[in-house]
Amino acid sequence: MKGETMKGEMMNVQVGDEIPAWNMPSVLPERMRTMAAILRDPNPVHWDRRVCAKIGFGDHTINQGPLGLSYMVNMLHAWTGPESIRRIKMRFPQAVLDGDHVIARGKVTALREENGERLADCDIWLQREDSEPPLQGSATVKLPG
């Protein structure tokens, strides 16, 4: 029933609709370290606070760009399902730091059909209190139904 309700809601998606927000209460440095190992990422700004302090970020490591982007992915998955994303374009005007509370948000900007799929184009961004969005971009998702 829940699935049918969701499908019904998705049939009524309109331009201007807000995507349900996805909350990351605190960006964790432990996750950055695991991510660095998987990515084989040698950049110490993701795991060495001493390096971050030297370049002006105080006692905070810097979140990997793909991790910030993944919060957008999680928001879109929760909205349209885990196989729905067709494209994400993301810019990174500001760094996300460990301990940050960030919220992924989005809004529908256009609806269209392509190759038999109902697509929604969306503006997406990461919201952080007292700052401009550290991540801004766009996404295209396939709508159910």
Partner: protein
Amino acid sequence: MSIPLPPLPPVEDIRALVGHRFSGGHYTIAHWENFLLTECTGSEPLPDDIAHPVALFHVPILGAGTSIGEMFALGQADSDASIGIESYDWEFFKTLREEHPYRIDAEITEADRREENGRMFDRIAFRFDLKDEQGEPAARTTITWHYNRGKR
């Protein structure tokens, strides 16, 4: 006392990177890898062996036979911390899944010097194409980084 900036790489060296092709190769996303990766994002594991789309960062890089470190070095980065992200553009033609081999080919598509607000940087774009076992396009990603050179 200010720390002297490292020598600026010749702009011709940077521009000559356009067309550089990586060796290419294959990459299979392991279950353990996808599990940990997905956990890092704050998501529960996805159903049906679906790889979290965040895999579209490291899978193309490693599968193409390169590494983040080599990409830094190609652009003659002043230091690891001098790299800034301009954008990531991720296109999914198919759902990526665990334990499926993907063929990856990659090249540098843009490389040039820029100056904004007195800040100099080299802008380099890397494009990676993923194909599935049938040779059909599965995904494409374009990474655009800034190799910051400081105020000169």
